[in-house]
């Protein structure tokens, strides 16, 4: 995993200085995964009496893996996954019994289960476009309930209440023996599935899903197509669960509609919560806990519910990241003891270290940022007759202006003057906005938020819309989403061009963080940062999208003037470098006068004054309405 070919020979790159691991093909988790796979594979004959239980662990682990995507990453709390398990199982049974004449065998069952459940997933995901959290749980719960009724009534497919037997277990014509050979085959299937899910999580899809979970509004504003991503999460997750359904029926050798009830759906998601929903390992650990523990201690079966319930309550109260969270915390403590350092020092949120400055020049001259240099000015924004009305309040009342490309413009005005609402109208966050907006000749009006962003409109948020538990580095990478040119299928198999693209993105993100003086905090969760740094992360994410015009909504609010000025200097330096215009809402008049060539003053939804900072500050109306004497 050496990485030398693309860095400049003369000095260490930002990534090297910060110690950011280079994205590659093999990770530590892969080695761990293969190790446990090999161990189970070899020791399997020793556990002959448990083969059905182990088969179930694998089924639950696969479903858990699929839920890591849809729930752990994308944050879609779904109670509908029993549907996919049922669909996969009955498809498999029908094909294995050759009901359709498509030929039998796993080589037919698995692709068909994947394809059908992918489409089914896209459909089940539809409610997620309109509702989230509770209402999504309700909607998917209703789908699972109706789905089971459908299974009962669709007798050609499921044989109704009497159920279907799994049929022959073959792969390319070879008979697979029940017991150990079958479990070994399942193990291989799960290993491949997990590798693929892991690749998706590491790539742009996983990152955008995490962005969507932590802030949908912000995800839209960097150009992520949130609607499609949500549905896609259900599709991929459904497909994998369908595959698990194939394994389910072969493991049980028989299944009826009663197997796929709403309770199963709940148990599936609980399994992942118990294990730890932020990691694939959590899916495995949860599956072992839920499916193997009761098997191992027979007396315990009577108290299954008490153990599951107790574990859930205990973990939710004391380790929200599940058993894996507990293990991770334990390992950190042991590591600390061995290294004889205080625990606090090696916790991730205190991992930052001083980073030596680059030896040659500023970050803007570094390799990938230098490539962004653009002497052509962009960001010619026109706003014509913008109106936003909330009930009886005209928050923005017929505002028109034009901003020249590559200029820094300030917007000032008292609270409630309609500044943020104006931004929201331009970016599409205000749903009932009227008016015509164009950016470099591209018509923005009536386009979805993410399209406007892709057209070159970048923004930050007044009240910090950051991605909570996500690292600072990933915020820059999320901003770079549009630069990830690889397809999602290539991503799933981590083809060489995916890795190349990821490396470039990491490099560029690191350099951007370096420029914004955030590099030493790259590995921090953004929630753990002080307010001033969070502000900078917000701006960095906006800059990462390489916008034509960047709308900054009170970037300096709450910061000391010196710190604010320093940050604004960096922003404007970067903006000039890439030829991007900046419009900034700010209450700090000193700062506005300092950095803005032109100032627009708003009052009660209208433009009160417009001109150079100098002329505006001396305008009698402005002094009366806003500045005071």
């Amino acid at each position: 995993m050496t990485y030398n070919e693309q860095t400049s020979p003369s000095s260490a790159s930002a990534m090297q200085r910060a110690g950011i691991p280079v994205p590659g093909y093999i990770k530590r988790n892969h080695i761990l995964g293969v190790f446990f796979f090999a161990l189970t594979f070899l020791l399997l004959p020793q556990f002959d009496q448990y083969t059905t239980a182990i088969g179930f662990i694998l089924v639950f682990a696969a479903v858990g893996g699929s839920l890591v995507l849809a729930f752990g990453a994308a944050g879609q709390f779904t109670l509908g996954h029993s549907i996919f398990l049922g669909a996969g199982a009955f498809l498999s049974a029908n094909i294995a019994n050759d009901s359709y004449g498509w030929g039998r065998g796993l080589e037919v069952e698995i692709p068909i289960a994947l394809a059908v459940c992918f489409v089914l997933g896209l459909i089940v995901g539809l409610p997620s476009l309109r509702v989230n959290e509770l209402y999504l749980a309700l909607a998917t719960f209703a789908i699972a309930y109706v789905g089971q009724q459908v299974l009962y009534e669709w007798k050609q497919f499921t044989a109704g209440g009497s159920g279907k037997s799994a049929g022959d277990l073959t792969l390319f014509g070879w008979e697979i023996g029940r017991g150990t050979p079958y479990i070994r085959l399942s193990l291989i299937i799960i290993l491949v599935t997990f590798w693929i899910v892991g690749n998706i999580l590491d790539g742009k899809t996983g990152r955008s899903m995490n962005a969507l979970r932590t802030s949908e509004t912000a995800a839209r504003s960097v150009g992520i197509n949130v609607a499609w991503l949500k549905i896609l999460a259900f599709g991929i997750s459904g497909a994998i669960t369908g595959l698990a359904g194939v394994l389910y029926i072969h493991n049980l050798r028989y299944a009826g509609p009663e197997n796929f009830n709403v309770h199963l759906s709940i148990l599936l998601i609980l399994t992942l919560i118990i294990g730890g929903r932020h990691r694939l390992a959590g899916a495995v650990v949860g599956a072992i806990f839920v499916k193997f523990l009761p098997e191992l201690i027979r007396d315990v079966q009577e108290y299954e519910g008490i153990i599951y319930g107790g574990a859930l309550i205990f973990l939710t109260l004391f380790s929200p990241r599940g058993i894996i969270g507990l293990i991770e915390a334990g390992l950190r403590s042991i590591g600390a003891l061995l290294a004889n350092t205080p625990v606090a020092n090696i916790l991730p949120n205190s991992a930052s270290k001083e980073i030596e400055a680059s030896s040659d020049g500023t970050p803007l001259e570094s390799l990938s940022l230098a490539g962004l240099a653009n002497s052509e000015k962009r960001g010619h924004l026109t706003v014509t007759d913008a109106r936003v009305i909330f009930g009886g309040v005209r928050a923005v009342d017929g505002v028109s202006f034009e901003v020249e490309a590559g200029k820094v413009t300030g917007v000032i005005g008292s609270n409630g003057a309609g500044k943020t609402t104006l931004f929201n109208a331009i970016t599409g966050h205000a749903k009932n906005a009227e008016g015509v907006f164009t950016l470099d000749g591209f018509e923005l009006s009536n386009k979805p938020i993410f399209t406007r962003s892709l057209a070159g409109l970048g923004r930050t948020f007044q009240n910090l819309n950051l991605h909570g538990d996500i690292r600072v580095l990933d915020h820059a990478l999320i901003g770079l989403e549009r630069e990830m040119k690889y397809g999602r299928v290539s991503e799933a198999f981590r083809l060489p061009h995916v890795v190349r693209n990821e490396r470039q993105a990491y490099e560029r993100s690191a350099e951007l963080l370096d420029h914004m003086q955030l590099l030493e905090f790259w590995n921090e969760k953004v929630d753990d940062l002080p307010y001033g740094l969070q502000k900078r992360v917000d701006v960095a994410r906006g800059l990462a999208t390489n916008p034509s015009v960047l709308l900054l909504d009170e970037p300096a609010a709450g910061l000391p003037t010196a710190e604010a000025l320093e940050m604004m200097e960096h922003v404007i330096e970067y903006a000039e470098h890439i030829g991007c215009g900046v419009i900034v809402i700010e209450h700090n008049v000193e700062l506005v006068a300092d950095v803005c060539e032109r100032v627009i003053v708003m009052d009660a939804g209208k433009i009160l004054a417009d001109g150079t900072a100098q002329s505006v500050m001396q305008n009698a109306d402005v002094i009366a309405a806003y500045l005071g004497t």
Binding site: F77, A139, V146, I266, I273, T420, K431
Partner: protein
Amino acid sequence: MTEFIQLLWSGILNGMLYALIGLSLVLIFKTARILNFAAGTMAGFTGWFAWWWATKQGIPFLLAILVAIVMVAVATLLIERLTIRPLINENFLSIVTITLGLEFLIANLSINFFGGRAESLRIPGDIQFKNFEIGGVRFNWWHVVILISTFIILAIVGYIVNRTELGLAMRAFAEDKDAARLMGIKESTVSQWTWTLSVTVGGLAGILFAPVLFLQQDYMNIPFIKGFVAAILGGFTSLSGGVLGGLLLGELEAFAVKYAPRQMAAALPVIIVFFILLIRPRGLFTRAKAHERV
């Protein structure tokens, strides 16, 4: 006509069950934004508990009900204190997970404790087996008791929510948590009494319908799902919406059994509700929420 009224009556009866469970869910959701997945199991536990006092311990019927309700209410105070309160400011998911955990735990406990065999809750005078007729429509005496009791329960809950100081605090929390806190309303008090009220309403439903549904280990599971659907139909934040949703669902079911194809009868009401929700995701009886603040 007689048949129509008979169907209407059976719809009202089922509707009352869904309405009470729906009300129990909405009460908690409205004030605390929590979905209580354990509501059905807790209601079932109360029903079993009343049976246990009346049959196994041989204390008088009404006293058994009272003891069961009071003991479950006290247990709820404890559960709320130990599991819900520490997470009161956490995200929606944490507490939902807790209630799922409670569901598993209580379901298991009630099997171990009450045996899990089907039993029946005997009512003094066996009035659940006695019917009377008006104009060809048959009415069961116990069903009449259910109807009257439900009205009393609804009236009491309505009184508490709309006329008492506790109710005012609950409504304040439902409207704006932070503002309510700033006004000096104690969140813990509101939370604990909301839980107790909600579980009591559910528990009364569990007892009232025990003679109708028969006591089985999870006899309140299906009513829980239906009550859930009723609450969704009502928009999940409106108390009267939940009750109306329950009645509507009850009638839908009663008439689906009669007029829909046999295979569809079980799923049809839920399918209808699902489509209603696609059109009106926030339920039939609520106004749209103000849009998200950016």
